[in-house]
Every structure is written in C-alpha cells, then in structure tokens.
Symmetry: C2
C-alpha cells in the first residue's frame, strides 16, 4: 500500500501543480539556452555560475516534485511532451518510481519504462504490492519480471501468479491481498489489541474479515461495530454473515454494479471452497468504472486505445487506422450501390443532392436506438421477456420520425425541384430507411450480446454501413421505379 | 442514511432478482386472466379460490420485495413495463418509498411519482435526509415540498435550503450533512466513549472531523488512528491537518478527480470562512462519475436525457428530436452544396458515387481528433502552452492519413472509372478534407471550452456538418476545375 509522507500536498486543483512545474521547467530551459548561447569564451567562471543557476532551478523543481502525491506526478507526466516528461521523470526520487508507474496511463507508462534500465525497473517493481506488480507485468521486460519474481516470498509468488492469471475484466484483476483477518471466537477487546500492533491498516479498511480455524470465510466485522460496542462483546455476535461476496472469475462489471448499488467500500473475494482470497477496495472499482467509460467513448470514435497525446504521429496514426480502414470499406460499398444507379442519376441529377439526407438521418436515428439498447444491455435490463416489446417501440418511434422528418424532407425536395413525385419518393425513402435503422439498431447489439461479444464495439460502424448503403438503395431504387419514365 | 435490515439480501447478480419477480408476476397475471375468463357463472366459491390464489402470489411477491435492497428494487422497477412497474411499486412497503425514489433514474422516478398521492409523497420525502430531499425536490409538486419543509427542524430547513441552492455539477450537490465531529483537545479515550453513544455511524465514516471551539474546521482524525493508538493519546497529536478540503461551489468534476487521485472515502466540505458545512462520501462520487459518463455517451448520440426504456413512444421521440432536427438542417445545407454542382455531376455522374467517401472518412477522422481533445480538456491536460503543438500533431496525422487513405481511394476511383485525373482529384479532395476535419476537430472543442461551454455537447454534429459540406464542396469544386473541359 502506498504510504503517503506527512509533507505530501493534496490539492483539488492539480492543474496548478502542472503550471508550477511548467514554469520551473521554462526557467530551466531559459538558463540552459543562455548558457549554451554564451558557449565557452566568457571564461569558465561565467559558465559555472550558469551551471549553478541551472542546478538551482532543477533542485527547486525536484523539491516541488517530492512534495507531490504520486497520482499528481503521474498527471503532470501525462500532460508533458516526451522530452520534458523524461527530464521530470529523472528528477523524481527513485523510491517513488513504482507508485507512479502504477498511476500513469498505459500509453505514458510505456514511454517511461522505455527510458529506464533493467535495474531501475526491478527496483521500482519491488516497491509494489503483488497485485500492483501484476498490473505492470505486461509492460515489463521478461527478464525484469524474472528478477522480481525471484525476490518475492513464496506466499507473494503465489499471489502474483494468481493476480496475473485473471483477465483484465474479472474481479480477480481488481483484487488486492492486503487486508486484516480475525477469528470469530474472540472479543472486541482482543481485536482492538491486535489492531494496535499494526503500524497502519490497509487503505479502505472499513471492515475486518472473519475466518474460522480452517481459514474459511465466515463474515465481516465492520469497524463501526468495533467502535460502537463494548469491548467484552464477541466478534461472532456482531459480525455480518449475509454480506456480498465476490468470486475472482466473475465479471468486474458486475462487482462494480454491486459497489454502486450497495455503496460498498470494500468486499471480500472468496473461492469456490469458501476460502478468502483477497478483497476488492472501492478505489479499484472507481478506477475500473472510469477506465470502462473512457474506453466506451474511445470505442465509439474507433480509437483502439487511450493515446498519449504527445506520442509520435506514427504511433497515433496506427491507433486510428483500423477504424478508418473499416469505414473506407463500407464507404466503398455504399459508393458501388450508388454506382449501380448512375443511369437514374444522369436523368435526374437532383437525386445526387438529396440522397445523403436519406442516408444520414437514418444513421443518426439508428445510433440513438443502438445507444439506448447497449446501455440497457449493460445494465441487464433487457431479457427475452421484454425485447420484442422494445423492438415494437423503437419501430413505432421510427414510424413517427419517418412521417415527421420524412414529410419535412419531402416538402423540402418538392419546394426545390417542383416535383410532387420526387417529394413523395423522398418521404417514402426516409420512412423506410428510418425503420431499417431502428431494426438493425436493435438487432445488431442483441445479436452481438448473444454471440458473447461486447455490443459496444463495432455496432455503430455496422449500423452506419447498413443505413448508408440501404438509404442509397431505397431512395435511388424508388426513384428508378417511380420517377424514370 | 439508509438503514438496511438484517434480512436484506445482497447479490452480485441483480438480474436473478428481476427474473424471480418477473416469474411471480407471470403467475399472478395467469391467475388473474383465468379468473377473468371464468367470469361469474361457476359460482362464487370458484372465484374466491381464484382470488385467494392470486393474493397468495402477490403476497409471495411482496415478501420477496421486502427482502431486497432498495437499490435492487429500483433496478427491478426500471426494467419493467409501466403496468407491472406500478403493480410492484404498490406492493413495496410505504416506509421504503423514499429510499427507492432516490435510487431510480430520473425518467422512472417521474413515472412513479405520477402514480403517488400528495400524502404518500410527503411521507416518502420525510423518510429521507435533507441532502436526499434536495435531490428529489425538482421532481416533487410544490405543495408537497411546502409540507415537507414545514415538517423539518430549523437546522434541517437550513440544510435543505443550502443543498438546493447548489447547481447539479457543484460539490455542494454531492454533499451530505451526516457526519461525526469532535474537538481537538480531547483524548482518543473520550472519542471512543463518545462514539459508543451512537447507534450507528454514518455510512462511509472513515474519518472524524475535528473542529475548534468556534466550529472552525481544523483537520481530520482517520478511524485507523483511533484504532491503532493508545487511548490516552490526544486528538490534536494524531489528526491530519494537510488534507484535501472541498468547497461547495467547486465543480463536482474536480472533486471526483481528487477522489480518484487520492483514493478517498470521504472529504470535508468547508466554506470560505473555514466553517465545516458537510462532507462528500465516495458513493456520491461513484454515482456522479457514472452519471457523467452516461451523459457523455447519451450526448454523443444526441439523446437529451436518459430514457425510461418503457416510456411512451411520444415521450421517447421527443427526447430524440432536437438531434434529428439539427442533423436534418446540416444535411439540407450539404444537399444545397451538392445542388450547386449539378451541372458538373450531370457531365460526370461518377462524382455522385464517390463524393460520400470523401465526406465520410474526414468525418470519422475528425471525430477521432475531437474525442481525444475533449478527453484531454476534461483531464486538464491541454493548456495554451501545448495546444499549438497538439494542433501540429493532429494536422500531421491527417496529412499522413490523407496520403495513405486518399491514395487508396484515388486508386479505387481510377480502377473503376479508368480516369487518372479523377483519381488525382479524389486523392486531393480526401487529403484536403482530412486536414479540414483535423483543424475543426481541434478548434471546435477548444473554442467551446474558451466560451465556457461543455465541449462534449454538440461538437461532433458541428464537425460532421463541416466535413460533409466541406467534403462535397472540395471534391466537386476540384472536379469542376480539373475534370470539366
């Protein structure tokens, strides 16, 4: 667990820290550039003065950094271009490297680890708890992991192996092993004396875990109970037995929902045999919720992973290519659908100007459907019992939208081109394509869910492909039938 | 604070509860429909049996509901069509109405409140803490609020007035007033004795708040310290003074980031004069983070607010109209841009098939830029010092993308239509429109931020409007210049 020194400054406004560090770095850069401009001539004395000045700024900066919480240093590192970032990273005390590596984003961590020696990495990793080492493991070189592994006790090795064995979205990945366990057959007095032997309790200790003689999990004793009751009461009389217990292979998503519903601070993780493996603290859940919501937003824009905003152009471009390639393919396909109607467009060129309207609005409306369905699926609100009802409702909304917006678009087409048939084709095409959008906007996420895939990934690109090509096909098809003599 | 009865069942899998309730409701519906089909003839005896059967299912259901945590009942209510929802709501014990109303989503709360009498609403509100009443206030009829207000003590009225005065996105809105305060000049022994007088500590009490004789906030005493140290130690010697303090008018977003960075369980809220007003507990922060991330996703799809999935078609449609109307306007505009080039398209109809590709890819790529910029703005990572550097980087990525994907699209156009000039126009247009997308993808959120507006709202529709119209203009304009003799 992270031990925060007394001098650590907490702040609600971490941007201020960033600006202070930036100012110190600017001073440093200024002095450095002055020293460089003057080069050697003005005697060595001058140079020494410059060097000292430069050192002073750096030591001022170092002092400032030492005062900061690891999470704030992580924030500052993330907000800095790579050169300044590595300068700041060098100034951070080596014994805090581990905690900071845990806090930075994956992309930035990569850039920091790339600048560290094997020895530094090993030392950084050894400052951490086993569950934290597991979080770093896939970023560390294998040789470093081997060294780290050797330095651990047998119990820790087992914990590390366990922690590394769970997938990122499982409860096991949120678990830590740092907790206080007690026996049920003692009094509060005994528990209090036992606790006083600790220098510090693990963070987020709101309850103690009660085990029997065979290390079976029996229940929890909230610290409140310890404080509110007389010392001679027995643990067994006060402990809660019907509390929530998590299992390491469960989805982290479910654990997060349980934390939200029941306002938990920590929860025990128990294996099939009822043995206590560890606990999930609320901060791990908060981080999980935040990471998950970020990846939702990133996925919607087709970003494969979080980007270090100062990463190289090449690296950022690669992060975005899959999506653009995919969209280019669907755009090519839609283009071929239009190509099939070139004769119709040649005869009635207004169609070319109107067709993007038909495609676009259905895409927007279908995306609204998809967003609502994905959200309800994530919350577990949709089951076979109500899916049909929802589909009927979404189709009804599209029908309404088709009549309203299709009518407006048809009127617009009529006013521009003074053709009643064109207006009617426009309205009809809008209506049909909106219905198509609602239908596939329901079916895509439901099908992906049934296939065991995350409906949030790729649903929207598939929908747009269908509403685009479908929209062009419906509109130009209707036009070919009704407008071309 | 919610007092959970001993019989409350916690579960990681709330869907199971939902299914059980659904099964019980189905049984009930079956019995009801049988009773109705048989009508009166088969003698009153039969009817009575049916009624009893029906009653039995309902009482079974009621029993089941009584066992559930208010948050789980809220989940079940949200996942039910309106008729079943109101049936379940009727069966819930009246003394739990308040806690449940707090837990359900805004849209569902509306449907429940609409079904309650003024008297019921007043009773429900009176079960709650003042900060919870403040959360409900804008959904309750004014007459009910007046009654509730009258029933409060003077101190509570002041709290309620304070809580209602903060905007939804301020720290004050996350604050509760339920906390334990102590004096600094006492020993731990005294504090322990004081705590034992409580029946229960407020949820998420991880620290006690230390005040001086003038009620000025002095610091916090973590419960850990109370447990780890000898009873004769003084509070003043153990309390932490350099902890984070929040201010009620600060943005909730900043407080949430502080909770994440420092892994807090609770934090004191202090006014300008150093007086302790209340505290923010971690569960309020978790709810805030979740709500915020949901509204991000909803905003992206142009949904004005969270939808009750079983709301009427009319209500849902209205929730989605603003967005569709806005998009229809931008689509009309883009359509007029195309309309301006009808002569060009008439002569070279392939342009109609290719133009959506140019518009679409730049929209996708610009959305990637916007997503990254909005995220970095929210984290506070962008400041005037690095904005220009980021713009240069985004433009460089677009240049690269323009060459790669523009080249591929140009090749595609050439292969289809055997025209080198057409291929070159395609590549050039893609390149220019991708650069346009990156430029406006940077400038829109930065400008909105500077104007003090939320860059997450509306940025993407504006971007798409520009990349669509711009793409059509650039592509058809280049074609007019270079392809038409």
């Amino acid at each position: 667990m992270t031990e925060i020194s007394k001098e650590t400054h907490y702040t609600e406004n971490v941007q201020e820290h960033l600006q202070q560090v930036q100012r110190l770095l600017e001073k440093h850069a200024l002095v450095t550039s002055v020293a460089q401009q003057q080069e050697i001539p003005r005697a060595e004395r001058q140079e020494l003065v410059d060097l000292l000045l430069q050192k002073r700024h750096l030591s001022e900066l170092q002092e400032k950094l030492n005062e900061l919480h690891p999470a704030d240093i992580a924030f500052i590192l993330e907000a800095m271009p790579i050169e300044q970032r590595l300068l700041v990273w060098d100034l951070v005390k080596a014994d805090r490297d581990g905690e900071i590596l845990i806090e930075v984003s994956d992309a930035v961590r990569e850039s920091l680890i790339a600048a560290m020696s094997r020895e530094e990495l090993r030392e950084a990793a050894e400052q951490l708890d086993t569950n934290e080492i597991a979080d770093l493991a896939h970023d560390l070189p294998q040789s470093v992991m081997r060294d780290v592994f050797k330095s651990l006790s047998i119990e820790e090795r087992e914990q590390l192996r366990a922690a590394m064995s769970y997938p990122e979205d499982a409860v096991g990945a949120l678990m830590d092993f740092d907790m206080v366990t007690i026996r049920e057959d003692v009094t509060l007095e005994v528990v209090s004396r036992y606790l006083r032997r600790f220098d510090n309790l693990p963070d987020h200790t709101d309850q103690l875990f009660v085990l029997d003689r065979d290390d079976q999990f029996k229940g929890v004793l909230p610290l409140n109970q310890l404080l509110l009751n007389e010392p001679e009461m027995a643990v067994s009389a006060l402990m809660l037995t019907d509390t929530i217990t998590l299992h390491p292979d469960d989805k982290a998503q479910k654990a997060a929902q349980a934390f939200e519903r029941y306002d938990l601070v920590s929860a025990p993780v128990v294996d099939e045999d009822g043995k206590l493996l560890g606990r999930v603290p609320v901060n791990a859940v908060v981080d999980f919720i935040r990471a998950e919501s970020e990846s939702d937003v990133l996925n919607l824009a087709g970003l494969r992973e979080e980007e270090d905003i100062f990463a190289s152009v090449w690296k950022s471009a690669k992060n975005r290519w899959m999506w653009l390639a995919l969209n280019l393919c669907t755009a090519f396909f839609a283009s071929r659908v239009i190509g099939g109607f070139e004769h119709t467009i040649e005869k009635f060129v207004a169609l070319a100007a109107l067709m993007p309207i038909v495609a676009g609005i259905a895409g927007n409306s279908g995306n609204q459907t998809i967003t609502i369905i994905i959200r309800s699926l994530a919350l577990g609100q949709i089951n076979p019992g109500n899916a049909r009802q929802l589909l009927a409702k979404e189709l009804a909304i599209s029908l309404l939208n088709g009549l309203v917006w299709g009518g407006i678009a048809g009127g617009f087409a009529y006013l521009l081109y003074k053709s009643v048939p064109l207006g009617l084709v426009m309205t009809g095409a809008m209506l049909l394509n909106l219905l198509l959008g609602a239908l596939v906007g329901m079916l895509i996420p439901l099908t992906m869910q049934r296939l065991g895939r995350d409906p949030a990934i790729g649903s929207s690109v598939l929908l747009t492909a269908i509403t685009d090509s479908g929209g062009f096909f419906i509109f130009l098809g209707l036009a070919t039938i009704f407008l071309i003599p």
